[in-house]
Symmetry: C2
DNA sequence: AAGCGGATAGCAAGCGCTTTCTATCCAAGA
DNA sequence: TCTTGGATAGAAAGCGCTTGCTATCCGCTT
């Protein structure tokens, strides 16, 4: 019922071995023979049995991409870029690799389960995107799992998260410079004259959250604003998930705590959108009454009104590079770690305070 | 070097068959034996060999999801919803299925290539999302491919595209009512008093594009606006890809052709954002000088300023249902086709014309 | 007491492909 | 003319798992 290699072989009057070699193309086969085989493949509408190949060859052409939330363009852009570079049908290489996008939803267990599933599939590579959870136990579990994957020949690439602690594994890491991005953003606000700045942070225990927040506080501290007569920094920080709603609610909370804020920095652009909505609803004009800034520079940020001041992360470039690293098309950076810069994008949502 | 089933069997002092049965859980195994086996699995850190299982069992637990652009939330939301329902680690079922998200980039060849790749992997199901290309040759090729997949036991689900012509295959289809959504949107504008309405359409030859445009023209025709003294409808329609930039450029073009437009309808929200940017740049206020409307109701639309009037498509619900259909968790709709309604969301970007 | 049948477990035959090792063939060198 | 070796093609041994069929063990029935 299903056509197999031997069927093709029979029709082309060659051995199965030859058909396999024609299909894999890494062994000399006479042109005439190849022709005959290809014609037979075509005639019979033959499709290779992937599992059988993978079993026999002990490798697969699946590349796993772990993301927190595929519906979030932050991850969608990276995932798309990875996929475009791994040599699948969409890629330049025109290979046959397929991307398996795994949605962890930010859950540590799912992250591990997916890693196991990918190990089970003998994935050719695994790309972990986005910030990592800072729980030591979980970090250790992930490291262990990755080490085992690497042992089995799976390439590991981290994209947008800090390098592994025990980076003994041959892991390539592309890390975003969230801290200096955060610092520069807040410096920009300080330069404009803001002194009372609210911060809507991401969820606790995420590296991304912490680094951005640290950058923010570094800037405040450096300017002497952090400590002196500025109330408690903790007081001006509210944590929540990376969602619009969180930005909305956190902003209302901040306004309650400190009605005299002249600026609000959000953990990312999505959160900033929610924050803006809340401010607008409160009758505050942006940036006249209060400035707002985001992070990531997602595509919609430039279309916000006023356009959102934010920190641009080259998500597409990073994803593409991660894809190349995953396939070995690009050599890993020296030391295994490359830091990807963040660029401040000053737009209409920030202006000098007027009070 | 790698642990196999027999290693586990040896350690648990049972036969490989028994280990397999414990792991697959569809055969009676005495509790004590099961215990012993599971302990051995744990001790040895055993991970099943996916390709080997798939080969022996002639099935896999991969579910393919074809999308035009994973970086676009329209597809991201659907893909995420599908994945959450197929019983992978993220799903309620907690099964072991994995989603393979395939980015076609809208290219017909890639669509076919991915379908072949999924066939090769013996995918358990394939979900095709978004509008289809209207090229008869390509449609036939896809149909043929799907028929072959279905033959091989792969479930086929179409989500957000019209049913197949020759729907002999056991294909479940969830189709969006783009036409009536488009009609209602334009009726809304007509009711407000608009008569000169520009339309920024999607790419030619896409079902989505055509249906939305037809809805628009139906509404115009029904009101008598389409023909009488309203210039050529063609004149007021510009096609382009579903991107912000396209919306921007098409809007400038429309303004050039007909400076007296009082409203612009965009093919989707992303395009509407670009259109708004162009209008704003031209010094036109929304909705005072000109109304703007989109389609899809993507998350950012409510945060546009003014909030975007649009047509809401229940992307998440549709994706979730598609996921359930893909796993057989839900029975296919009668006739194999279910139409999913579109809801008009009137917001701030549309108002009566003032000229 | 002999017979039966349900509940478990094992045997062994593949699943369809890759790949090592061998066998052939033929042109060119000695 | 005989040898030598590069270029191709084939034989066959798995890869690690699933599963139909068979074997065994017991507690009961008759």
């Amino acid at each position: 019922m299903t056509v197999t290699l031997s069927d093709v072989a029979a029709r082309a009057q060659v051995s199965p071995a030859t058909v396999s070699r024609v299909l894999n193309g890494n062994y000399p086969v006479a042109a005439a023979t190849r022709e005959r085989v290809l014609r037979a493949v075509d005639d019979l509408d033959y499709v290779l049995n992937g599992p059988a190949s993978s079993l026999a060859a002990a490798t697969s052409d699946l590349v796993g991409i772990l993301v927190n939330d595929i519906a979030d363009p932050f991850f969608g852009i990276m995932a798309g870029a990875v996929q475009s570079e791994i040599g699948g049908p969409g890629g330049r290489a025109g290979g046959e690799r397929m991307a398996v996008v795994c949605n962890t939803g930010g859950s540590p267990e799912r992250e591990l389960t997916y890693l196991t599933l990918l190990q089970r599939q003998r994935a050719a590579a695994v790309v972990l995107t986005g910030g990592a959870l800072e729980d030591p136990a979980h970090a250790a579990a992930v490291s262990a799992k990755l080490a085992r994957l690497a042992d089995a020949g799976t390439r590991i690439v981290l994209c947008g998260r800090p390098p592994l602690e025990d980076s003994d594994a041959a892991t390539a890491t592309l890390t975003f410079d969230n801290r200096s991005g955060g610092r520069r953003l807040t410096e920009h606000l300080l330069t404009l004259g803001h002194r009372r700045i609210g911060y809507v942070a991401g969820p606790m225990e995420r590296t991304t959250t912490r680094h951005r927040l640290e950058g923010h506080r570094d800037a405040l501290a450096a300017s002497g604003t952090g400590s002196a007569g500025n109330g408690d920094q903790e007081e001006l920080t509210v944590h929540g998930p990376y969602t619009r709603q969180s930005g909305y609610e956190a902003t209302l909370e901040l306004l309650r705590r400190a009605p005299d804020l002249t600026a609000i920095v959000a953990a990312n652009d999505t959160v900033a959108l929610g924050a803006s909505a809340a401010l607008r609803e409160r009758g505050l004009r942006i940036p006249d009454d209060i400035s707002v800034a985001g992070f990531d520079d997602l595509p919609f940020s430039v279309d916000a009104v006023p356009a959102l001041t934010t920190v641009r992360l080259p998500l597409h470039e990073a994803g593409a590079r991660a894809g190349r690293l995953a396939t070995g098309a690009e050599a890993p950076p020296p030391g295994g770690v490359a830091t990807i810069g963040a660029e401040l994008m000053v737009r209409g949502s920030t202006a000098p305070p007027c009070r």
